[in-house]
């Protein structure tokens, strides 16, 4: 049976066909980006002992991501209910992790900076572990949120949480490098050469991950392929230009050519972060639902 199901029919309520998700378009990609960036920066800073970076990471993850989510909610005053179902909902788990990050992260920064005592005790290690676990969940949970339900075939992939985590680490590494180069927290020693290498490795890994994700989607199902078609047509400029060329390509060139500590690192950071944001924007906007009519599964 032949049909003509090869384009989204979002504006046609009474026609069978592919439909894209039309709700998570701007603020949710922004929230995912800020959560990943903040969580990643905090994690990198926690591992390297970079207090200023951890503080900035906390602010981005908790205040930035929190504000983006808050602005998106239809009934923001009911936000406190979001922690009610951690047994099944990844959003609940993520919010609990963000609360954990806010509490343990702040404690860790305060103890490390000497605002409160106990920096030399075992308590600091315990708090660091708890803050690290919270940050790890914040980095990856957005990937689980979209990967868990089977509704959108492109998203329903085990690669999504990995993509979320590695993009978080890339963003965090980029920002840590720039902050260290601009003497934010000038008395602290940051292993910039290690971060420089890590940046290059993560750029390569993320590129490979995107290629694998899209290649698998292309052959997985007609609906997932429709997402890839959208990505390479309607969203080709933000994806190919923004995510691939600026976000990964230009970042690689700059990371290879710019000297450590150069102020041009700011440009590198801008490129990396633009790519990071556009990655979430494009991936969320190409979410296509499978047509409900089982006959349509054989359309392509």
């Amino acid at each position: 049976m032949k049909t003509s199901l090869s384009y989204p029919v979002d504006n046609e309520n009474f026609v069978m066909g592919f439909r894209t998700q039309t709700e998570w378009r701007w603020l949710i990609p922004l929230a995912f980006f800020l959560g990943g960036l903040g969580g990643g920066l905090f994690m990198i800073s926690l591992v390297t002992g970079y207090t200023a970076g951890a503080l900035v990471g906390l602010l981005i993850a908790v205040v930035g991501k929190g504000a983006a989510h808050f602005a998106y909610l239809g009934n923001p005053l009911r936000f406190w209910r979001a922690v009610m179902k951690p047994q099944t909902s990844w959003i609940s788990r993520g919010i609990i992790a963000m609360i954990g990050l806010a509490v343990f992260g702040t404690l860790w920064v305060a103890m490390k900076a000497g605002v409160i005592g106990g920096a030399d005790s075992g308590l600091l290690t315990v708090i660091a572990v708890l803050a690290g676990i919270s940050a790890a969940v914040v980095m990856a949970y957005d990937g689980f949120v979209i990967a868990t339900p089977p509704s959108i075939p492109l998203w329903h992939s085990a690669l999504m949480p990995i993509l979320a985590a590695t993009y978080s680490l890339l963003g965090g590494t980029t920002l840590a490098l720039v902050m260290a180069a601009n003497q934010v927290g000038e008395h602290e020693v940051v292993p910039t050469s290690t971060l420089h290498t890590m940046e290059l490795v993560l750029v390569g890994f993320n590129f490979a991950l995107l290629v694998v994700l899209l290649t698998v989607a292309w052959s997985a199902s007609a609906t997932a392929r429709e997402s890839v078609v959208l990505l390479l047509s309607k969203y080709s400029v933000p994806f190919v230009g923004g995510v691939i060329f600026v976000g990964l390509g230009l970042t690689t060139v700059l990371a290879l050519t710019i000297e450590e500590g150069s102020s041009a690192l700011l440009f590198l950071a801008a490129c990396g972060l633009i790519g990071d944001l556009l990655m979430w924007f494009t991936i969320l906007n190409i979410g296509v639902f499978q047509p409900i009519n089982p006959r349509a599964r054989f359309a392509r």
Partner: protein
């Protein structure tokens, strides 16, 4: 135990969308919001072309992804198999919207209830009464006309269908018409491979 379900007879559906209108009348859904609708599809190649119709509705899944995704507990499943939304608990995050494989949830903004009415800027007497039943900033969906079913009646779309293409009943009762028709005609669930176990079946 009762498990309410519905079967769509695709051979009988003529695509008149009387069900769509009856649903809107019964539930008073805002403009552009459909709890049920019938989509059409042109198949074949000239001169052998035909148009087929597929009624769509919330599937009230036994393992509903929307319920699992809901972080507030606003989406819940009743003992008789209905998946419902508690407006007072919904915070409007729309996680259920992206989690539903059947795309059968709709977000209603506050503007939708006040400004984006049938006649923009003007609220008709019907809307004035019916829109009060909705809360802005929440997600809504088909309830299988829970209020009617509780009184022993069938959903409005089932009663209205002139072709008797919709059969409603208890899926757990082997003697119910809906269960017998599903068994007799090898009824199948939409996107059954996703493992959501819908309470809606299609009969070819």
């Amino acid at each position: 135990m009762t498990r309410w379900g519905m079967a769509f007879d695709l051979k009988r559906c003529v695509g008149c969308n009387a069900c769509t209108v009856a649903c809107k009348q019964e539930n008073g859904t805002p403009r552009g919001v459909f709890f049920t609708r019938t989509v059409s599809e042109e198949v074949g190649k000239y001169p052998n072309v035909t148009r087929i119709y597929t009624p769509l509705i919330c599937n009230h899944c036994d393992d509903a992804p929307c319920e699992s995704a809901c972080p507030t507990g606003a989406t819940y499943r009743t003992d008789d198999g209905l998946v419902l939304v508690d407006d007072d608990k919904c915070m409007g995050c729309r996680a259920c919207y992206v989690a539903c494989p059947y795309k059968h949830r709709t977000y209603i903004s506050k503007e939708k209830l006040t400004k984006d009415t049938w006649f923009p800027g003007h609220v008709t007497p019907f809307e004035k009464v019916k829109l009060q039943e909705f809360q802005g900033g929440t997600v809504v969906k088909c309830t299988f006309c829970e209020h009617r079913v509780a009184e022993g009646a069938e959903p409005a779309c089932v009663v209205t269908c002139p072709a008797v293409a919709r059969i409603f009943g208890d899926l757990d009762d082997p003697d119910s018409e809906v269960r017998r028709e599903i068994a007799r005609r090898d009824g199948y669930q939409p996107l059954a491979e996703l493992g959501t176990d819908p309470s809606v079946f299609y009969l070819e």
